[in-house]
C-alpha cells in the first residue's frame, strides 16, 4: 500500500499516461495530412465540387471527377443539421465524411480518391441512409512516373505500334479498293477471294478503328446488330450479298456500286483519322485485351462471318494485332514482370500452334467445317491467354 499511493508512483503514472497519449496522437497527426485543394489548385482542375444539402435534396454539382485530390464544398441550405458522406461502391464503407454541418454553413471535405465508383450521400437530420447519388472518379493519368530508361522503352514500343497501325491501314485502303472494284463490277469470284484476306487488315487494328464511334458501325456492322433505322453499309453488307443465304434477293448493280463506293470512302476516312490518333502504352495493353475479347465474343462463336464462315481469318488477325501490341511492350514488361512476359509468350505460341492446324493454303478452313471439340480447344486456349493478357496494362503502366 505505501508504494502504491506514494506521490512518486502517482507522478510516474501521470507522466506515463501523458507519454502514451502523445505517442499515440503525434504520428497520426503528422502522417495523415492531405492537401487542402482550396489553397493548392494543382490538385483539382476546376475548384471544389459544390454540394447543396437541403432537407429533401442533395445536389452535387458534378457526377464525376478526375482522380487525385477532391474537394467537396458542402453547403447546408436546409433547416436541419446535415452530414455529407462519400461511400465506397458497396454503399457501406465510409471513404470520407463531414459531420455537423449546421444550417447556413459550408464545410469542406477533402479526400484523395483513386479512380473508381463511389456514392455520395447527404444526411439531413443525421439519420438514415441519406440522399444518395452515384459518383465516378476517372483515372486522371497521374501515375507514378517511370524512370527514364523504362520510359524510353515504352516510347519505342508505342511508336513501333503506331507504325504497325499505319502499315495496316495502308494495306487496308489498297485491299479495299481492289475488293470494291471487283465487287462493283460483278466479279463475285474475285471479290469472294479478296473478302477475308482484306478484312484481316481491319481486324488487326480493330481497337484503334473502333475508337471512331461513327466509322466502326458504317464499316463493320453486322445485320444482327443494326439499330432500327440504321442504314446497313460496310463489309458485312457485301458479305451477305456475296455469300447469299437461301431466299436472299441480291443487290442491283447500282446498289452494289454505291455500297462499294461508300466502303472505299469510309476506309479512306479511317486511314486519315488513324494518323492523328494518340497512342500510349495503356492503349496498347488494353487494345490487346480487347482484341482477344473480340475473338472470344464473335470469332470463337462463328457469329462474325455468318454467311462467309471466314471467322478464322478474323480470328488470326485479332491474335496478330494483340500479339504485335504485346511484342511492342515486351521490353518494358520483361523489366517489370518477366514472369508475365514469359507466360504470355507461351500462351500466344500455344494458341498460334492450334490455329495453324486449321490453315489451308493462304487461308483457313471455314468455320462451319470445324468440329465441336476443335472449337472447344481454340476457345479454351483463348481463355488461357486472356487471363494473363488482362494483367499486361497494369504491369506495364503502373
Amino acid at each position: 500500500m505505501p508504494g502504491f499511493s506514494s506521490p512518486q508512483t502517482r507522478r510516474t503514472v501521470g507522466a506515463r499516461l501523458a507519454v502514451v497519449a502523445a505517442t499515440a496522437i503525434l504520428p497520426l497527426a503528422l502522417s495523415s495530412c492531405t492537401d487542402n485543394a482550396g489553397a493548392n489548385a494543382s490538385g483539382t482542375t476546376d475548384g471544389p465540387i459544390q454540394v447543396t444539402s437541403t432537407d429533401a435534396e442533395c445536389k452535387v454539382s458534378a457526377a464525376e471527377a478526375p482522380s487525385g485530390n477532391l474537394t467537396f464544398a458542402v453547403k447546408n441550405d436546409g433547416a436541419e443539421v446535415t452530414e455529407f458522406y462519400v461511400l465506397a461502391e458497396d454503399g457501406l464503407r465510409i471513404v470520407a465524411e463531414v459531420e455537423n454541418i449546421g444550417p447556413g454553413i459550408t464545410r469542406n471535405l477533402v479526400l484523395t480518391a483513386p479512380a473508381g465508383k463511389y456514392i455520395t450521400a447527404c444526411k439531413p437530420g443525421m439519420k438514415g441512409d441519406g440522399i444518395r447519388a452515384d459518383f465516378t472518379v476517372k483515372d486522371s493519368g497521374k501515375q507514378a512516373t517511370v524512370d527514364a530508361d523504362l520510359q524510353k522503352l515504352v516510347d519505342t514500343g508505342v511508336s513501333q505500334y503506331a507504325a504497325y497501325v499505319k502499315d495496316q491501314t495502308e494495306q487496308l485502303v489498297a485491299g479495299t479498293k481492289e475488293f470494291a472494284t471487283a465487287y462493283a463490277a460483278g466479279d463475285a469470284a474475285k471479290a469472294k477471294s479478296l473478302y477475308a484476306a482484306t478484312r484481316m487488315h481491319w481486324e488487326r487494328i480493330e481497337p484503334v478503328a473502333e475508337s471512331f464511334g461513327d466509322l466502326d458501325p458504317k464499316l463493320d456492322a453486322r445485320e444482327a446488330d443494326l439499330e432500327p433505322g440504321q442504314k446497313w453499309t460496310g463489309w458485312h453488307r457485301a458479305e451477305k450479298d456475296l455469300f447469299p443465304p437461301a431466299g436472299y434477293k441480291a443487290l442491283t448493280a447500282a446498289e452494289r456500286g454505291a455500297l462499294a463506293k461508300q466502303l472505299v470512302a469510309d476506309t479512306a476516312e479511317l486511314s486519315t483519322r488513324t494518323r492523328t490518333v494518340e497512342l500510349s502504352a495503356d492503349k496498347l495493353g488494353n487494345g490487346a485485351k480487347e482484341l482477344l475479347d473480340e475473338v472470344a465474343r464473335g470469332k470463337v462463336t462463328g457469329e462474325e462471318e455468318i454467311w462467309s464462315h471466314t471467322d478464322l481469318w478474323d480470328f488470326q488477325a485479332n491474335v496478330d494485332g494483340a500479339r504485335i501490341a504485346f511484342e511492342n511492350l515486351k521490353p518494358v514488361l520483361q523489366q517489370k514482370d518477366a514472369a508475365l512476359a514469359k507466360d504470355l509468350d507461351a500462351k500466344f505460341s500455344a494458341l498460334q500452334a492450334e490455329l495453324k492446324k486449321h490453315a489451308k493454303g493462304d487461308g483457313f478452313a471455314y468455320y462451319n467445317e470445324l468440329g465441336k471439340d476443335e472449337v472447344q480447344k481454340l476457345s479454351s486456349l483463348v481463355d488461357a491467354l486472356g487471363e494473363p493478357l488482362s494483367k499486361l496494362t497494369a504491369a506495364v503502366v503502373l
Binding site: M1, A21, D35, V81, I94, I105, K127
Partner: protein
C-alpha cells in the same frame, strides 16, 4: 439557428461534463488550489483545438477523414482510461479524507496533478477539434449571415451555463453521497465516451461492424431534436448504436461500476484492504 445552437450545446456538454464533475470534486474535498491545473488542461485543449482547426481550415494542408476520426476516437478512449483512473483515485482519497494525515492527502493530490491536467485536456480536446472546425466554418459563413456562428456560440455558452449549474447543484449535495454519485456519474459518462470513441474508430475503418446495429431508435429519438442532443451531449447516447459500441459500453460500465461501488461501500474498518483491490482493477 436552432440547429446550430443544438450543435454547440451538444459539443459543449460533451466537453464540459467530466471537467465540471472533477471541479466539483476538488472543491468539495477542499482542494480548490488544484483548480488552476484543471483549467490549465482545459485551456491547453481549447488553444490546441482552435489553433489546429484554424490551421486545417486556412492552411495548405487538411486532415484526412480517417485521421480526424482516429484522433477523435483515440482521444476518447484515452480519456476513458484517465477518467477511470481519476474515479478510483477519488474514491480512495475520499475515504481517507479527514481520517488520514492532511499532508499525506495533499501529497497524493499533488502527485495526481499532471493526471488532472491531462484528464481535463483530453475531455475537452476529444471534442475540441471537431467543434473548432465547425466554428471556423461558421465564422467563414458569417460573411453571409452571422446567425450560424451566433447560434453555435450561444449553444456553447448554454452548455457552460448548464455545467456551472450542475457544479453548483452537486456542491449542495450531502458530502458522503456526493463522492459516490460523482463517481457513478463519471463512470456512466465514461462508458458513453468509450462507445463514442469506438464508433469513431468504426467510421475510420479501423474497427469493423459499422453497419451491425444493436438498435436504431432514431425515429423515436431524432439526433437533431433537443432531447436527442441532450442525451448525446450528456451520456453520449447514440440512437443508432452498433453492437460493438453497445458491447464496449456494457463491458466497461458494469464491471467498473461494480468495483467502484464495492470500493466505496466497503465498511471503513476494512479500509486497509481497499487500495489493494482497486490496484488490481486499475492494472
Amino acid at each position: 439557428m436552432t440547429a446550430n445552437f443544438l450543435i454547440g450545446l451538444r459539443e459543449g456538454l460533451e466537453a464540459t461534463l467530466i471537467v465540471v464533475l472533477l471541479m466539483a470534486y476538488l472543491t468539495k474535498s477542499g482542494r480548490r488550489a488544484l483548480l488552476p491545473r484543471l483549467w490549465a488542461g482545459v485551456g491547453i485543449a481549447v488553444a490546441v483545438s482552435v489553433g489546429f482547426g484554424a490551421l486545417l481550415t486556412f492552411g495548405p494542408r487538411g486532415l484526412t477523414f480517417e485521421a480526424q476520426e482516429a484522433i477523435g476516437g483515440g482521444l476518447s478512449i484515452i480519456a476513458v482510461g484517465l477518467v477511470t483512473w481519476m474515479v478510483f483515485w477519488m474514491a480512495r482519497t475520499a475515504r481517507t479524507l479527514g481520517s488520514e494525515l492532511r499532508s499525506r492527502v495533499d501529497g497524493v493530490a499533488d502527485g495526481a496533478a499532471w493526471g488532472l491536467v491531462l484528464v481535463a485536456a483530453l475531455a475537452v480536446g476529444r471534442e475540441g477539434l471537431e467543434t473548432a472546425l465547425f466554428l471556423w466554418a461558421a465564422a467563414q459563413a458569417s460573411g453571409e449571415s452571422g446567425t450560424p456562428l451566433f447560434g453555435a456560440l450561444v449553444g456553447l455558452a448554454v452548455a457552460a451555463g448548464l455545467g456551472y449549474l450542475l457544479h453548483r447543484g452537486v456542491l449542495k449535495v450531502n458530502l458522503s453521497r456526493f463522492f459516490t454519485w460523482t463517481g457513478v456519474a463519471l463512470v456512466v459518462i465514461a462508458g458513453g465516451v468509450l462507445a463514442y470513441g469506438v464508433h469513431d474508430l468504426q467510421e475510420a475503418g479501423i474497427l469493423p461492424g459499422l453497419h451491425s446495429l444493436a438498435f436504431d431508435v432514431s425515429a423515436a429519438v431524432p439526433p437533431s431534436s433537443w432531447y436527442g442532443t441532450l442525451l448525446k451531449g450528456t451520456l453520449n447516447f447514440s440512437p443508432a448504436t452498433t453492437w460493438l459500441e453497445a458491447a464496449a459500453c456494457v463491458l466497461y460500465t458494469i464491471p467498473v461500476m461494480f468495483f467502484y461501488l464495492r470500493a466505496n461501500f466497503r465498511p471503513p474498518l476494512r479500509r486497509a484492504e481497499a487500495p489493494a483491490a482497486t490496484a488490481a482493477v486499475a492494472s
